[in-house]
């Protein structure tokens, strides 16, 4: 296993569209192991996508199970060819990216999603997700379409009271 170099913006490979995975073999498994090593080496990263290490394939890893303030989660997830089939609600939240050092911004994401993907064995898996985990998946899936959170960032001044309203309702 190896920690792979992370591409940082403005590397144009981050702006490419990634292709679906078709072969679920030992090479894929080895790459996933490297990708996870790379995520763990990144400071505080809860997710990573294959294009961030220069592989233009639809592979992401998300794991929000180790948060200081625990959030609803499905543990360590390898999502291959992921697709969101249902969105619900939206809320702003702060995001940063291994590929965009020293900057964070507020991004509006769906609060709840239904997700279909394949696991490393090629089997279909489905999840209902919410909140922070759903945010992480949406951020990583953007990488597969050549999008960065910078493409979606909203002003810090615009969400002054939205969170409070959300808290009251939840």
């Amino acid at each position: 296993m190896a920690v792979l170099p992370i591409l940082t913006y403005p590397d144009e490979r981050l702006k490419r569209f990634s292709e679906p995975v078709e072969r679920f073999d030992a090479e894929l498994a080895a790459f996933i192991a490297d990708l996870e090593q790379t995520r763990l080496a990144g400071p505080g990263a809860v997710g990573i996508a294959a294009p961030q290490v220069g592989r233009a394939q639809r592979i992401v890893i998300v794991d929000v199970s180790k948060m200081k303030r625990p959030v609803p989660n499905h543990g360590y997830l390898v999502l291959i060819n992921p697709e969101i089939t249902h969105w619900e609600g939206h809320e702003p939240g702060r995001e940063g990216c291994l590929s965009v050092p020293d900057f964070t911004g507020n991004v509006i994401r769906a609060t709840r999603i239904h997700l279909k993907a394949q696991n490393p064995q090629g089997e279909t898996v489905e999840f209902d997700m919410e909140g922070f985990e759903a945010r992480a998946v949406q951020h990583e899936m953007d990488h597969l379409d050549g999008l960065l959170f910078l493409d979606r960032v909203v002003s810090r001044r615009t969400d002054v009271f939205r969170r409070k309203v959300y808290e009251k309702n939840s």
Binding site: G44, V46, G47, R69, V71, G93, D102, V160, F161
Partner: protein, 173 residues
């Protein structure tokens, strides 16, 4: 040898100020760092990090024509650049209430005593002139934890000011 300066411009707002000033800086060979431009009341304000070989006085002279044409006050200070060292906030605090003297001092005072290091603050006066509302948004680092801030804010809330404290969990991926 390049130096960093903080260039501050203040005056009556009018369309095109930022374009005029930054054009003059570009023509004068300056690089720009971070900037914050905001209208406070009807006033234009900008603070702009400028990197240049010019002296403080030469930089002042460079922006003078654009500034004088719009009756803007110009101020230049020598600073350290310190880029690429953003501190990440872990809490957001929003405050609002009927405007009265001392809100900011009271709120920021209790927050400072409870360990808050403010990284970003902006405030506005809304409502009408006979019923003004003060609205403030703060982001910072809670050195003693968020619970300490909540406790410290109790007396402020009892005084009729609405305060919400929300943790910021930055998602990095």
């Amino acid at each position: 040898m390049n130096h960093w300066y903080m260039l501050t411009l203040v005056g009556e707002d009018s369309p095109g100020i930022v374009a005029d000033v930054t054009h003059a800086l570009f023509e004068g060979g300056c690089n720009l760092g971070e900037a914050s431009m905001i209208r406070l009341g009807g006033n234009f304000t900008i603070m702009l990090m400028v990197q240049t070989r010019l002296s403080r006085i030469e930089l002042d002279e460079l922006v003078r024509p654009a500034a004088d044409a719009r009756h803007l006050l110009v101020h230049v200070d020598s600073i350290e650049g310190r880029l690429h060292q953003h501190a990440e906030p872990d809490v957001q605090i929003t405050v609002y209430g009927a405007d009265r003297a001392g809100i900011v001092a009271q709120v920021t005072g209790v927050l400072a005593a409870a360990g808050l290091n403010i990284l970003d603050l902006d405030s506005a006066v809304g409502g009408s002139s006979d019923k003004p509302i003060y609205i403030m948004s703060i982001e910072g680092q809670a050195a003693q934890g968020i619970e300490a801030l909540e406790q410290a804010l109790e007396p402020v809330r009892e005084g009729g000011i609405e305060v919400s404290v929300t943790p910021i969990d930055t998602m990095v991926g």
